[in-house]
């Protein structure tokens, strides 16, 4: 049982991060397309089925795998060169391992944390490994032995160090308000209310810390508007200029995993984590049959409206005798009906058999994982949305914002929240 729980939580955390990478590539391209009034990737298909452009991510992966893994002869530190992308990727994955994706599961008289690593000082773990992941960038820039890569690495390290202080201060003010460094406990506190009606979300009790943290999270993940480390108009591609094939893909994936982690941490700290407002885990345990009933009603409605949306929007703009989109829509329709039917049958069996405490816990965990994924994807959408809205900062503006604006604001916030909590 012990080993099964360990395997389950590691598999969930890994699957969460790795399956979100192709989805993120898809989301990025598609949102970029829609924001700029164009359709985005829509040609790549497997036998006519394009899944709206998700197959493009697969094609990209295949392309990167079959590319030549090239190391230029001018590179002397070949070991460091090879190690750098792995360092970055491993550090990104390790930061994910302390995100609580569901509340503790109680089996017998033992309580199991639903994190890949059952560690109760999650926020410190995150800060530590997020700081270490900069080493990957620095090593890559140094080992590449060219001035553009080195400039990119220097920019990345300077940026990360400046913004980590403000991020740390935002985290300190959150730790003061929650009186805890345990991410799971933070989420449990957030399912409560203050003044009787307002949900106890971090964004409502510490709005300034929320803004500071989100801005610094953008800077930590090297995303626009703070992606000076790979400013292609100035320094080619920054620290990954010399990389090709899967080594480049590792940098790419590490960036997306870092984004997933940053989103997960933002929703865990400020947007209620895996819980919905007003609904605590105990309440979910008690009313799990009600939740199942709500799923049984809402899922077919959702599936039906999604089907309508596909029929309305997935249309060919020219006349064709053999329209692949009609075939594709038929396949989608069958898939949606199949998924809805399977879920309905499982829900019906569980409801008819009577919900035991163990089953109530499983249902709660699954619903919480779903809520966690939804919230994370919503936050990832914000990342993508900001990228396609804002231009890049100039380097002096970036440093000015970090040291002269966010740092004093962070200190002010810590002092104010400390005074309020002490009173």
């Amino acid at each position: 049982m012990e080993i099964a729980i360990v395997i389950i939580r590691i598999v969930i955390a890994l699957a969460f991060a790795l399956s979100l990478i192709p989805f993120m590539v898809f989301l990025e391209r598609k949102v970029a397309g829609f924001i700029q009034d164009r359709p985005g990737p829509n040609r790549c298909n497997i036998n006519g089925v394009r899944v709206s452009g998700l197959v493009q991510s697969l094609a990209d992966a295949v392309k990167l795998i079959f590319k030549e893994d090239f190391i230029s002869t001018h590179i002397e530190n070949r070991k460091v060169f090879i190690l750098a992308p792995a360092v970055l990727f491993v550090m990104s994955m390790l930061t994910l391992s302390v995100m609580p994706f569901a509340d503790n599961i109680i089996l017998g008289d033992k309580s199991y944390r639903m994190q890949a690593i059952p560690f109760d000082m999650g926020i410190l773990w995150y800060l530590g490994f997020a700081a270490l992941s900069v080493y990957g960038v620095i090593l890559a820039g140094w080992a590449s032995a060219n001035k553009f890569s080195l400039l990119g690495a220097v920019r990345a390290s300077a940026q990360s160090i400046s913004y980590e202080i403000a991020m740390g201060l935002a985290v300190v003010s959150m730790v003061i308000s929650y009186q805890s460094v345990d991410l799971n406990q933070m989420v449990q506190i957030q399912s409560g209310t203050f003044f009787g009606i307002v949900p106890n979300w971090g964004v409502l009790i510490q709005p300034l810390a929320c803004i500071i943290f989100i801005v610094t999270a953008f800077a930590e993940t090297n995303r626009t508007p703070f992606d000076l480390a790979e400013g292609e108009s100035e320094i080619v591609a920054g620290y990954h200029t010399e990389y090709s094939s899967m080594r480049f893909a590792l940098f790419f994936m590490a960036e997306y995993v870092a984004m997933v982690v940053a989103s997960a941490l933002i929703i865990t700290l400020f947007f209620g984590g895996y819980n919905l407002p007003y609904i605590s885990t105990e309440l979910m345990h008690e009313s799990s049959s009600l939740i199942l009933f709500a799923i049984a009603i809402l899922l077919p409605l959702g599936g039906f409206s999604f089907m309508k949306w596909i029929e309305k929007n997935n249309v060919t703009r020219y006349k064709s005798k053999n329209d692949f989109r009609i075939r594709e829509n038929a396949i989608f329709k069958k898939a949606i009906i199949g998924i809805v039917a399977i879920v309905e049958i499982v829900v019906a069996i569980t409801l008819l058999g009577g919900v035991s405490f163990f089953e109530a816990q499983i249902v709660t965990a699954i619903v919480q994982i779903l809520i966690f994924s939804m919230k994370t994807i919503a936050m990832l959408f914000v990342f993508v949305w900001v990228r396609w809205t804002l231009p890049r900062f100039r380097y002096d503006q970036l440093q000015k914002l970090g040291w002269a604006r966010l740092l004093p604001l962070g200190f002010l916030n810590v002092i104010i929240s400390a005074i309020i909590v002490a009173m």
Binding site: V31, F34, I35, Q36, D37, R38, P39, I211, K312, N313, N314, V315, T316, R317, Y318, S320, W385, V386, W388, T389, L390, L401
Partner: protein, 166 residues
């Protein structure tokens, strides 16, 4: 005469502008509006599915692949004067002349080849032609092939190409 000057007000010093966030949020609201209108109804996207769908705003003067014109009795108009080949800046027209015996003209091309990979579609051959024998109104704007030879069009192909119906 006094120089007209227009004083442009410097922006960026008011509090709301120095906070960045109001401008950031208004920009994000605008992009979100584009996103939601497009995702709720994809017919709002202004695009054409190119190879399958025809481009609507290409007028009849747009230069496409060449064709050789014919008289009313289906005989070739070209008199093999070599004006097009001389005028061609990329030297991609190759003509082999022969004697013409049907009384229409003295010469006619035995072979007339255009290398489309060399051609820059400048239309100088059309302008140089004294007999209106070569035109670029076929409406064929893209051409794909699997070998270099498939891009060399000969006399038979040029004669068989029709003008684009408008």
């Amino acid at each position: 005469m006094a120089i007209k000057t227009k004083k442009i007000e410097r922006r960026g010093s008011s509090l709301s502008e120095r906070l960045y966030l109001p401008a950031v949020f208004s920009g994000m609201a605008r992009t979100l509006k584009h996103f939601t209108t497009n995702i709720s109804d994809t017919s709002n996207l202004q695009h054409i599915e190119y190879p399958e769908q025809e481009i609507p705003d290409i007028n009849e003067r747009y230069r496409g692949q060449h064709r050789l014109t014919k008289h009313a009795d289906d005989s070739i108009k070209c008199v093999a004067c070599f004006m097009c080949a001389k005028n061609c800046p990329s030297s991609c027209i190759f003509i082999e002349a022969t004697e013409r015996r049907d009384g229409v003209a003295e010469k006619m091309p035995l072979e007339f080849k255009i290398d489309l990979l060399e051609c820059v579609y400048c239309g100088f051959c059309v302008e140089a032609c004294p007999h209106d024998a070569i035109r670029m109104d076929s409406g064929i704007l893209t051409r794909t092939g699997e070998s270099r030879d498939s891009f060399i069009v000969d006399k038979a192909k040029l004669l068989a190409t029709r003008a684009k119906e408008s």
